[in-house]
């Protein structure tokens, strides 16, 4: 009879943590931050089809770093949970907390019970009616869940990105400034920027995946910002720096981005048959961007 090797529980957990951390640290970073217009999800992601940020439900978004197959199956599970709950109760009964709890339980049990932990880090973001009521939950590979204020940074060089973002982040930034701050923070550590031996001054639109949980939209708030809309948002102060990012998508409207009007092809959410529900989630945001003094926000520095 063979004796199994003895390893203390402490040792096993430490090994698993180290394994998961290593896997996560290889990936590019993701930033989720609150702003006046909603919750902004920004990922450095050269692929336009293998998404790192996604929609869970009306007011809930998802962002992840790590192993794609693992966080993709978690994203699908989250969509299923939200849809089953929304269908069997009501759309208003689906909250970010429910989804975050289910993720925490799942990641926790995988971490303790299975040989290989999931090499993922997730953020479940819920947009509220004001920036103060936005909820950002960070979930790590071992199932711990943290409710973070203002912003969440995940991935390879999270510490460096966090340090950079902390300098430039202000509560209630307008969308453009928030995007600027987020992209600058990601650019500061990205291998494709000049600061780190790449060719771009800051990350070009082509290697960014950006989505917004739009506070002003009544039902499904999730909206991807891609193509011309993203370039317009990014390129206002640095149009000449990104000649490589000018691949145009046919049919993309080059008109300026408008936060509260859906772009053609973006579903505005579904009408609900029961009358009471049709009114659900229409609590209008009290236009916080008007109150935000734009000039009081410092310009995010160009990446060093």
């Amino acid at each position: 009879m063979t004796m199994p090797y003895y390893a203390s529980a402490e040792q096993v957990m430490r090994d698993r943590s180290e394994y998961a951390r290593k896997g996560i640290s290889r990936g590019r970073s993701v930033v989720v931050l609150t702003c006046a217009d909603g919750v902004l999800l920004i990922a450095e992601n050269p692929s336009s089809t293998l998404h790192k940020v996604g929609e869970i439900y009306d007011r809930i978004g998802f962002a992840a770093v790590g192993r794609y197959s693992e966080f993709e199956s978690l994203r699908v599970a989250g969509v299923r949970l939200a849809d089953v709950r929304g269908y069997s109760y009501n759309r208003r009964d689906v909250t970010g907390r429910v989804v975050a709890n289910a993720y925490a339980q799942t990641l926790g049990s995988i971490f303790t019970e299975q040989m290989k932990p999931f090499e993922v880090e997730l953020c479940v973001a819920e947009v509220g009616s004001t920036p103060e009521s936005d909820q950002l939950y960070r979930l790590t590979f071992d199932g711990s869940v943290v409710d973070e204020p203002d912003f969440v940074v995940m991935g390879g060089q999270a510490d460096a990105v966090t340090a950079n973002l902390r300098e430039h982040f202000r509560a209630g930034l307008p969308l453009r400034k928030a995007l600027e701050a987020g992209v600058a923070a990601l650019s500061a550590v990205s291998a494709s920027t000049q600061a780190n031996g790449g060719t771009h001054a800051s990350l070009p639109a082509g290697s960014l995946e950006v989505a917004l949980l739009d506070r002003a939209r009544p039902k499904r708030t999730f909206r991807r910002i891609t193509g011309a809309a993203l370039r317009t948002l990014l390129g206002a102060d640095a149009p000449a720096t990104e000649p490589a990012a000018t691949e145009t998508e046919p049919g993309e409207d080059a008109a300026a981005h408008q936060p509260s009007t859906p772009a053609p092809g973006t579903p505005p959410g579904l009408g609900d048959p029961s009358a009471a529900d049709t009114a659900g989630g229409t609590s209008e945001a009290p236009a916080p961007d008007d109150a935000t003094p734009d000039d009081a926000t410092p310009e995010p520095g160009t990446p060093a």
């Binding site: 089809t49 998404h51 996604g54 929609e55 869970i56 197959s69 993709e72 199956s73 978690l74 699908v76 599970a77 969509v79 299923r80 949970l81 849809d83 089953v84 709950r85 929304g86 269908y87 069997s88 429910v98 709890n101 289910a102 993720y103 925490a104 339980q105 799942t106 990641l107 926790g108 049990s109 499904r220 053609p264 973006t266 579903p267 505005p268 579904l270 009408g271 609900d272 048959p273 029961s274 009358a275």
Partner: protein, 282 residues
């Protein structure tokens, strides 16, 4: 049910299984009791015990498709509702109208809306219009048992085909029968108890390539004619300010027409008719 989902071990394996992007199929595995088609059908006819929705009409125009429905639900000889809504946006580019047992039909619409949204979220793209029409057919097919006991649901489905070939009309209409048969209609269609009269009316007023305004009027007039001759279809109710519900789907997506617009059309039809041959005869 939700206790199982968010219990000690988090998501059950069914949730983490990546295969499949259909919400109905997923419910079939995890919560079959929530599906309208999975229940045992009543053994005796119960048709008169449940409210029934009546007339739905749809017609294409040069840039898309329109659908409208009256506001009446009946239960036997009673009017059970004067302000029921029977036309819904299924998603951004399609609409669904329902005739038949209202309870099951509304549940089916709700499920269908989630089905389309679920697919969209999981796959990151919308189903093709034909794909959507087929999913609906499967749902109707599952209801055949209940349909035989008087709880039939017969929808009308219409949408804007984003992949329409150049030169073909982007607005398309699909009708169904109780067995889940799915038929694409040319130009216009109607379902429900007043459909015979609505169809006759549309036959005279609808032409290929109508403008959106002309097609809207044509639909309101068809509903007016249906209400004129079918007791289960409600006409425009100026006293309670209840007017037919109309949805337009075009390149901009699906929008519900404002009540004021429909009221105006209904009023102009009434005015025209009060000066018409019917009143002169009387």
């Amino acid at each position: 049910m939700s206790e199982q989902i968010a219990g000690r071990s988090g998501f059950t394996p069914a949730y983490l299984d990546r295969v499949g992007s259909s919400f109905t199929d997923f419910l079939g595995v995890t919560a079959p009791d929530l599906l309208p088609g999975r229940r045992t059908a009543p053994t005796t006819p119960v048709g008169d015990l449940a409210p029934h929705g009546t007339t739905i009409v749809a017609a294409t125009f040069d840039g898309g498709v329109l659908m409208g429905g009256d506001r009446r639900a009946t239960m036997g000889n009673l009017i059970s509702s004067r302000d029921i809504e029977k036309v819904y946006a299924a998603d951004s580019w399609s609409v669904i109208g329902i005739a038949g047992a209202a309870g099951i039909a509304i549940e089916m619409v709700r499920l269908y809306q989630v089905e389309l949204e679920h697919y969209e979220k999981i796959e990151g793209m919308t189903l093709s219009l034909d794909g959507k029409a087929n999913r609906l057919a499967a749902m109707i097919r599952g209801n055949l048992g209940a349909a035989m006991q008087g709880l039939a649901v017969v929808p009308l489905f219409a949408g804007y085909d984003l992949d329409a070939a150049p030169g073909t009309s982007p607005g398309r209409i699909f009708s169904y029968d109780v067995t889940g048969g799915n038929y694409e209609e040319r130009g216009y269609a109607s379902v429900g108890s007043g459909s015979l009269f609505a169809r006759g009316s549309l036959k005279k007023t609808w032409r290929p390539g109508l403008s959106a305004d002309a097609a809207t009027r044509s639909l309101v007039e068809a509903l007016y004619d249906a209400a004129d001759d079918d007791s289960a279809t409600g006409g425009p109710d100026a006293v309670r300010r209840l007017y037919p519900i109309l949805y337009r789907v075009d390149a901009e997506g699906a929008v519900r027409l404002p009540d004021a617009e429909v009221a105006e059309i209904a009023a102009s039809i009434a005015t025209e008719r009060s000066a018409g041959p019917e009143t002169r005869e009387a």
